[in-house]
Symmetry: C2
Subunit: 427 residues, 2 copies
């Protein structure tokens, strides 16, 4: 409790942190994502106070039922009464919606934005249907609408599309936008049957009990509508999207891709064509080493193709409570101007001394091998057999800290061996 | 001229765009990056007015010499007089520094920020040396310092590190941060000698006439200092970075990597260790299919490893005038609140009808092949030979628009064939 009701713990504030004010947060939904957000806020209490100058106070938490286990410190904030929550939302500094669906979520959004509050949501279905109207509402009431976590989980793609990339001449936005189906397709490609892959995805928390919106492609289509809206200004609800998911024959999709030497991916794509913006979500066979083929498991990737900025690829965790909650927290703190960001007072730099494996080489020359081995020995480096190639002698050493290798390199240089060292991240 | 002196062309403003105000911009540097910025501003004049409600007026352009060819419309704004430019900078709304170096650039930064202006720079060396002091100056004078283009060219990494990822528990930031050396290493790995690869990089505009800071690793080290500052709060100038570049034996680096089945990359890495933040820039042998091995040519990649957000990978063009200038323009317009962003009035959505290649399959069954071929023929799809596998019959069709394939699929479904279709991006 004390970690959340921060006014009560004011005495424990880090010294030297000025002007810590209270940020009242009303949270709708306390499941996988909402619960994780509560935990992250408690975990980062001091850092948030120091960096952003705010203490987050949870004022009300709307839940659908009261039976479920909840994180510490929210018990006396819980309510199942939507009207009561809406009253709290109208009074909060920030309202976070992580309850899903489009009925209650829309009422919360309208109440919060209509009252001039900041509204933060992870709800792609809400945005795909009502995003532009909510954005207009936000402007009219000098409110603010943020939704970084709605697409791509923890990948910072929406902020980039809203602020950094609009004037790069965007031609296409495409990618893998649904972590659940990508996890399943990855397992299918490894030879697992669909029923086992789906059960596994559910056990890991990637797929919900009812995975219909994921496997049908409609979750990815909602996300694509949001991307197309930001990239092209197309109204998300009016964009025709050709949607095909991975059902009803998921196992065959994987076998089909393998038959051509590829891997299956559920690809979402919006592209500028002569007549307007075209969009699709459908199974695609891609090369295993390709941009999309390299995205495994529950990861997502978004590729933005533009005239002035080439191809930008953003990849990372597309599902899971922690990445989504991290993105929500970033939005919550967005208006809280960083106090200390860039003040450079946090962590000291120290010399790098971790042990690594290294590849050393010298050109072939008379006596080179004997000299090299002597130099390595004096630097305390065990040298396995020398690889003798036409152009050079090579030896792999370590794991050893750089200081040892540096000693050997300097000695080798001093006797004219012309050594080169690379750190090894292979074999 | 008329595209830049926008006050003069007010009559040509797009209809229905409210409250277009003038944004006075003082630009230091009009070379590859600065010149491209001037061109982008002219190119996007109407879109900037509509989206951001501003018209950008170039008030003064500082150049080192007057001989070089400049973009249209800046001739009567040019000056080589630093004092004159500083006076203009103190009066501008935004000051963009693309002149490089740390002497004049620092004077410009201090003048702009000290006068409460917004200062936008692509200068990693300036930030690596003076970033925290400039940030404090900005805060003291309610000014603003932005530098998205300083690291990773057109990849939106700094904004993400400043705003979205700080509370994800960052453990490491690593990547390929220098497009010039990555271009050279990519060519070396393909068998080209160093002298030819360097000349090629210079001809393509990736490497400057004097590539010393690139090939020595110091350009990447400056960028790493900026990343570590934002990720960990470490003072960039006080972070010890072990720096080794690709010289003096670049050809051997590539041969060494190949001898172990890997590819060479100049890897920059900052990591949280028990004692503090450690940092290095050095040649590393990586697997060709790895995250860093997949980054070819002048591209950059930044990987952020964190406790709550897994691995986020951001990749894209790391060098070149257009990506850098696009990122500068994003920063310039950052404070100009988007008027129309999210209003959804730009591009219409249309049905996707582009021709693609498709893989169709049906399970093996009596008559299945004859039925499949009949269905394809009626849909007007040419069918090459059927691939007969133990589990299924497969056929590649197209290029054909989805409407034809959809027709065939529905017909096949109607006769109980159980068809599946994937779009093809292989072979």
């Amino acid at each position: 409790m004390s970690t959340i009701l921060l006014q009560e713990s004011a005495a424990a504030a880090p010294r030297g942190v000025p002007r810590v004010r209270t940020l009242r947060l009303a949270l709708a939904g306390c499941g996988v994502v909402g619960g994780e957000l509560v935990r992250l806020i408690a975990l980062h209490e001091r850092e948030i106070a120091a960096r952003n100058g705010v203490r987050i106070e949870l004022t009300r938490v709307l839940v659908r039922g009261s039976g479920r286990a909840r994180p510490d410190g929210v018990a006396d904030r819980l309510t199942t009464d939507v009207a009561e929550f809406l009253a709290a939302a109208a009074e909060a500094d920030v309202v976070v919606e992580a309850i899903g669906g489009t009925d209650t979520a829309l009422r919360i959004a309208r109440t919060a934005l209509g009252a001039g509050r900041r509204f933060v949501t992870a709800n792609k279905a809400l945005l795909a249907a009502h995003g532009p109207a909510l954005m207009r509402l936000a402007r009219r009431h000098r409110a603010r609408l943020d939704f970084e976590s709605a697409v791509g989980g923890g990948i910072p793609v929406l902020r980039a599309l809203r602020e950094q990339l609009p004037l790069t001449g965007i031609e296409a936005v495409r990618g893998v936008l649904n972590g659940t189906t990508n996890y399943i397709l990855t397992r299918l490609a490894a030879g697992e049957p669909y029923t086992a892959a789906l059960a596994d995805a559910q056990a890991k928390g990637y797929a919900e009990a009812n995975p219909a919106r994921d496997i049908s492609g409609h979750d990815a289509a909602d996300k694509l509508r949001v991307l197309a809206w930001l990239a092209f200004g197309t109204h998300p609800a009016r964009l025709p999207v050709r949607v095909r998911g991975i059902v009803p024959h998921p196992d065959r999709l994987a076998a089909d891709a393998a038959a051509l030497g590829g891997v299956p991916r559920l690809v979402a794509e919006a592209r500028r064509a002569a007549a307007g913006i075209t969009a699709s979500v459908e199974p695609v066979v891609v090369a295993p080493g390709s941009e999309l083929g390299q995205v495994h498991g529950a990861d997502n990737v978004v590729v933005v193709e533009s005239l002035h900025n080439g191809r930008v690829r953003l990849a990372g965790p597309g599902a899971g409570g922690a990445p989504t909650a991290s993105a929500l927290l970033g939005d919550v703190l967005r208006a809280a101007r960083p106090l200390r960001s860039g003040a450079a007072s946090a962590d000291d730099g120290v010399e790098e001394s971790a042990p690594h494996r290294w590849l050393l080489s010298v050109p072939r020359a008379p006596q080179a091998e004997a000299r090299l081995l002597r130099v390595l020995e004096r630097a305390g480096l065990q040298a396995p057999p020398v690889l003798r190639a036409a152009d050079a002698l090579r030896v792999v050493v370590g794991p050893a800290p750089w200081t040892h290798v540096d000693l050997a390199l300097r000695a080798a240089e001093a006797v004219g061996l012309g050594p080169v060292a690379s750190r090894l991240e292979v074999g």
